[in-house]
Symmetry: C2
Subunit: 184 residues, 2 copies
DNA sequence: TAAAATACGGGACGACCGTCCCGGTTAATC
DNA sequence: GATTAACCGGGACGGTCGTCCCGTATTTTA
C-alpha cells in the first residue's frame, strides 16, 4: 500500500483530470499534453507524474464516464421493451459522442483503445450494451445476425455525420435509419 | 504554357504516382513521404518537386480513381431500377474503401479533404452519386429526407466495420442494414 | 559535342509532441 | 519551527515527419 497523496498533489490531480475531460471532449485527442498542463495551471511534469502517458490520462478521464454509461445500460436491462432499451441506449451513446470529441476519436482512431477499460465489468460498456442487444434479438425486435462490431460501426457512422457541425435533425434521421436497418 | 517534362522526370513522376497509389491503398495516409520516395527508388526531393505537399500527392493519386468511379456512377444513372442503381454504387464504394485504406483515412480523418477534387465535374464522385440518390428518391425507393452527408456517414460506418479485418459476411450484413435503413 | 537548361539525391532544417529529469519549493511530521 | 519526504515547474531530450535547398548528374538543344 502507498500512503495517501499529499494535499496539493490531490488538488492538482483532480484539476488536471477535470481540465483534460473538458479539453478532450471539446477538442478531441489531438490536443497536446502541454496544452492541458497549461490550461490546468500546472507544469507538464505534474501531469506526466500522475498520468505517465497521454493514453493513461485519457483512460482515467474515460473511466468515470464509462461507469456511468454502464449503469445507464444496466438500468435498461430489465425494460419491458427490449428493442426500445437497445435503441434508447444507442441514442444515448450518440448524444455522448456528440458531446465528447475525444470519445469519437478513440472510437474511430486506431491509436487509443477504449476497450482497454473493459477489464473491469463496471466499465465494460460494450459488454453491457451487448446484453441489451441479445435481449432485443431474443425478443425478435432486432435482426438476429448482427453483432456488437456492427453496432459499433453504425455508431461510428452516426457520429461521423455530426463531425463538422451538430445537427439535431440529421441525428434524428440517422437514428431512424439505424433503427429501421437493425429491425428484425 | 510550360514545356514538356524531361524524359527522366516523366518516368520518375509516373513511378512515384504508382508507388504512392499502392502504398496509400495498402497502408493508409500515415506512411511517411520519405518511405514512398525510398520505395520508388528516388530521393525525397524528386517527390516534393513533382508534388509539393503530401496532400497534393494523395490528391493526384485519387484523381484517377475518382474519374473511374464517376464513370461507374454515370453508367448507372439510366438504370431501370433507380434504387438498385444507388445501392449498387454504395456497394461499389464499400469495396473501393476495403481495397484502399488511404481513401478511408481521407473519408474519416479531418486532415485530407477529398472533396477538393470535386471542382472538376469528372472527379466529383459525391455529385454523381447524389444524382443516383435523387433518382432513387424520386422513384420512391429511398427515404426522401436523406442527403449525401447521411450517405457518406453510413459509408464511413460500413468501412469502419472492416477496419481491423476484411470480412465478407460482415460487409454483406452491413449493406443489408443500410439498404433496409434507407428504404422508403 | 559543347553549352545550357532541367532534374536528381538526400541531407538539413524547423515544427511538433510525448516523456523524463533536476533544482527549487511546499506540505507533512515530530 | 525545523527536518524530511513528497511534489512542482518547465526546460531538455529524442523521435517523427514534411518541406526546402544545393552541389552534382543527366538530358536537351544548338
Amino acid at each position: 500500500m502507498s500512503r495517501p497523496l499529499r494535499a496539493d498533489a490531490q488538488r492538482n490531480r483532480a484539476r488536471v483530470l477535470q481540465v483534460a475531460a473538458e479539453t478532450f471532449a471539446k477538442e478531441g485527442l489531438s490536443v497536446p499534453v502541454h496544452e492541458i498542463a497549461r490550461r490546468a495551471g500546472v507544469g507538464t511534469g505534474t501531469v506526466s507524474r500522475h498520468f505517465p502517458t497521454k493514453e493513461s490520462l485519457f483512460e482515467a478521464v474515460l473511466l468515470e464516464r464509462m461507469a456511468q454509461l454502464v449503469r445507464t445500460a444496466s438500468e435498461r436491462a430489465g425494460d419491458d421493451e427490449p428493442g426500445e432499451a437497445f435503441f434508447g441506449f444507442f441514442s444515448r451513446m450518440v448524444e455522448e459522442g456528440a458531446a465528447n470529441k475525444g470519445l469519437v476519436d478513440a472510437l474511430a482512431g486506431a491509436g487509443y483503445d477504449f476497450h482497454a477499460t473493459a477489464a473491469d465489468p463496471s466499465h465494460d460498456v460494450m459488454g453491457a450494451w451487448g446484453r441489451l442487444l441479445r435481449r432485443g434479438q431474443d425478443a425478435g425486435a432486432i435482426r438476429a445476425d448482427v453483432d456488437m462490431a456492427d453496432v459499433k460501426a453504425l455508431l461510428a457512422g452516426c457520429l461521423d455525420r455530426e463531425r463538422d457541425a451538430l445537427d439535431p435533425a440529421a441525428r434524428a434521421r440517422m437514428l431512424a435509419i439505424v433503427r429501421r436497418g437493425l429491425g428484425a
